[in-house]
């Protein structure tokens, strides 16, 4: 058994788990935090994305022991008693999720992006979400929502952009066009 001391959503947990336990299994099965989803289990789909010390990782590919002494943020830790996080609000407002399976991962990937880069370009948002596969909504509304949340977080106008006017950026080539969208 591995002895672990992990901070999850601001709360420290002292746990023991078999050494082969993934961070995802620890979160879901030991801590009951089922926001991070078990999708492909091989790092392709991103449904298990959580932030470890602020960085987006696939929790299915990380052993729980590797998170020892670190701080993990899951989707359950994003909202406060006062309300949803601006990213969650923007995803809701822009209907960026239908079935919602990819949502916790996509929103946390977007959070890691905005924490490091408060005014990302369309290309940067696409790159940040490239590891979060969505198979029902599509990405356009997510990109619009991330732009809107970025704007809200920057305090650039208390109002969210009106629905429909947040034109979706055209899809650029990777590493090519910077910009697009509302940035």
């Amino acid at each position: 058994m591995s002895a672990l001391r992990i901070t999850v959503n601001g709360r420290e947990h002292v746990l023991s788990a078999p050494p082969e336990t993934t961070l995802l299994a620890l979160l879901r099965e030991h801590l009951g935090l089922t926001g991070a989803k078990l999708g492909c289990d091989v790092g392709d789909c991103g449904a298990c994305t959580v932030l470890v010390d602020g960085q987006a990782v696939n929790a299915c590919l990380m052993l729980a022991a590797q998170a020892d002494g670190r701080s993990v943020l899951t989707i359950e830790g994003l909202a406060t008693p006062d309300g949803l996080h601006p990213l969650q609000e923007a995803f809701e407002r822009h209907a960026a999720l239908q079935c919602g399976f990819c949502g916790p991962g996509a929103i946390l990937s977007a959070k890691a992006l905005l924490d490091a880069n408060p005014a990302p370009t369309g290309a940067e948002i696409r790159d940040a979400l490239a590891g979060n596969l969505c198979r029902c909504t599509g990405y356009t509304k997510m990109i619009t929502a991330v732009h809107a949340a970025a704007q809200a977080l920057r305090g650039a106008g208390a109002e969210m952009p009106p629905l429909g006017l947040t034109a979706s950026p055209s899809i650029p080539l990777p590493g090519g066009e910077k910009g697009g969208g509302l940035s």
Partner: protein
């Protein structure tokens, strides 16, 4: 048994040393992308790391892990091979240094003995700042393995207007990442014309030994080698001439 090496301090970090740029095996792809030292002295490695998987993959995946898999489509291999990198390997019998080309033995096979670890990668001083380019072609723009990836590193002698020490490395088209020595020999001493680079691309395609699989046929991969090698050479050459 699971042995977690992720906190071995002497396998971390990026440092400029007398031998060259030393990169610990545990350095992640994201760290390579962000490293000011890599971006200044071996930017082609940051270019290659930038194409690996998605953010989540780059945040967890390490350079040492990428090389140790011995997977022929790895993206860090060609960039480092074009820069003639060496690797340090350590085990109970001591430490040894190998050329990266000798580290790759076959598909998913490396020179590592079962009780050895890859400790670091050194980009030799002679390759630091050498103009280079990395190109990858996959089936999608995001999170896709290479059908073919190519790195080229060249110097151009401004007086003789000639290629000096051109290096071309190919991924996903042989049992390991390989150099294209005939294409390199063809370019050595030649003026950097687009005709010469196109011919080098065609020669490199004959040096590739690709397989057909569900992602692409061997012929298609060979054609990609020809085109990507020409483009990578042209990009490296433009950087060489821009730097003069």
């Amino acid at each position: 048994m699971v042995l977690d090496i992720s906190r071995a301090a002497d396998m971390r970090g990026i440092a400029a040393t007398a031998d060259g740029l030393r990169i610990g095996a545990l350095v992640t792809h994201s760290e390579l992308v962000r490293s000011p030292l890599v971006r200044e002295f071996a930017p082609v490695l940051a270019e290659a790391a930038r194409t690996i998987g998605a953010v989540q993959t780059r945040n967890l995946g390490t350079l040492g892990g990428n090389l140790a898999t011995g997977v022929p489509s790895m993206d860090s291999g060609p960039a480092l091979l074009a820069l003639e990198a060496r690797v340090t390997v350590a085990g109970p019998r001591g430490t040894r240094t190998l050329a990266l080309g000798d580290f790759f033995v076959g598909p998913r096979r490396t020179a590592l003995a079962t009780d050895e670890l890859l400790v670091d990668v050194v980009v030799p001083a002679a390759s630091l700042g050498k103009p280079a380019s990395f190109l990858k072609f996959g089936l999608r723009k995001g999170q896709a393995l290479a059908l073919v990836n190519v790195a080229a590193a060249v110097r151009v002698d401004p007086d003789r207007r000639a290629f000096v020490a051109p290096r071309i490395a190919l991924g996903a088209v042989a049992p390991t990442v390989i150099r294209a020595p005939q294409a390199e020999a063809f370019l050595e001493g030649r003026p950097p014309t687009s005709e010469a680079m196109a011919e080098a691309g065609r020669i490199a395609a004959t040096e590739a030994r690709p397989i057909s699989d569900f992602r692409a046929s061997a012929d298609y991969r060979r054609e990609l080698v020809s085109v990507l090698a020409r483009r990578a050479l042209a990009a490296a050459c433009a950087r060489a001439q821009g730097a003069q």
